[in-house]
Amino acid sequence: MPDKNVLIIGGGVAGLTAAIELAKLDCHVVLIEKEKSLGGHAGQFTCKATDECAKCGACIVEEKIDMALSHANITIYNQARLAAISRKDRFAVTFFTEKDAEQSYDADAVIVATGFQAFDPVDKPFGYKRFEDVITNLDLEKKLRHEIEVKRPSDGITPEKIAFIQCVGSRDSSVNHLWCSRVCCGSALRMANLINTRNKNTEISFFYIDVQTFGKDFQFYYDRIRDRIRMIRAIPGDVFRTPDGQLKLEYYLPSEGKQIEELFDMIVLSVGIIPVGTADGMMEKFGLEQPKTGFPDEEFMRPVAGLFAAGTSKGPKTITEAVADAGRVALDVVHYLQKQ
């Protein structure tokens, strides 16, 4: 399709995948990314392989970045933002590039691949932003990418005891996020296993509601690693800091029927995946109201011909699910363009 132009908003793994698939079919693709670097959230994630691949998908991102950067049909603008968009026969798009130069582009189709934002747990009772050694799962991803043996932020020592707290800001009507974020059980358990493999002296406690084993082989992985992790089926109540800088966690231990106070060196909060909003107000420009959950789906986009969404902008997905979804959306775009 050499005469067709597609605009992709967002250079995470979904946007990159859709760009590559369309470029392969000779579409001309312009991809705009608001950050300095490509890859989105997943681009900062660590490989979680131990003696074997943990199938987390983190390595896919770099592969996609390389392919997108080297493809002649893809033009990428980093630190870019959408200025205006309207639709007659085609989409008339203007956006600002890195140097604040205004750029125009006529697109036959637009893919929104703006990803997600992480829930900010500062209002939850777990001491985030008050205590340095309470971090999120995304912080831990970045740490594990750079540190062979994980160090705690406050003083750089190797933690002997780490607690993971799941479902922070997911499945939570008090913050209007009723959904399961799908990926956190898998990614947190893989990181827990990685830490424990690199340092056998680090004890991991995993506070959870129920382990969500999305993906057809995650159950096997879970069965293999769960005896190395202390699994506690309750979400803790409060976190305090002791005078000597440790974190005191209060929780109910169902197996003993007791309230427990236990000291940890570091606490990792698995924060929920929440919607980013509507890509610089783009949906409003097309007269689309805010979707109910905040995640626009296919049904929601349908009134605007040629407008598509891919990846976690539509809801929580693993890296591999986002890639698969973006591939399918690229195919939908091709079918659409053929009819034009």
Binding site: D172, S173, S174, A234, E250, Y252, P254, Q259
Partner: protein
Amino acid sequence: MMKTDKIVEMGHPDCSCFGSLPYTRDYCITCGICSSSCPVSGVDGFDPRKVVRMVSFGMREEIVGSRWPWICTMCGKCENACPMDIDIPGIIRKIRSMRDRDHVPGILHKGLDTAIQTGNNLGLPQEDFTFILKDVGAEIAEEPGFENFSVPIDKMDANILTTIHNKLVNTHTDDLKHWWKIFYAAGEDWTVPSINWEGTNWGLFTGDDDRMKIMVGRIVENMERLQAKHLLWPE
């Protein structure tokens, strides 16, 4: 893993016996933050998460007969932490209301009976009550800066009418002094009624709506009798 003591035949779960409650407990996702946040969980194994589940399963006999609902202090921390906004103190109160009044724990049962008969949970006669208030007031007046202090009992048209928690005229009289001194320093116009002054409504805590209303009605009568503008009801 937890040990299984015995297996209970559940039949088909039916929680209709608990009536309608604000925010259905069926929204519970069993995260356990209620039990982790609770200041008294673990006392006799008390587990608010299990209370909510037992209600959802319609285990009326087991939960109404259990000590657990009476361990709860109804402080509401669980409800505040609950991601599904389940009114756990409301559930506890409902369970308590379903017990025969003769089987309500002794001190609460007797205290409420006494309150209905005498106006306060202790059965403290009016003259003893006013004597204690005046005595505590005299102690305050001995302190520098409070020389003119006296307790305004049954004062008409006061800005604030305050109820009294019975333990403050029993074992904790010193605790009366702190806020009375604040009233004095602030130049507040306040009063204490000499009858039906009880601020601790055990009708509320035992799930007894009828007698709760009687106790509340008496405070309303005091407000009207003394033409007070505002009610301070510390508990």
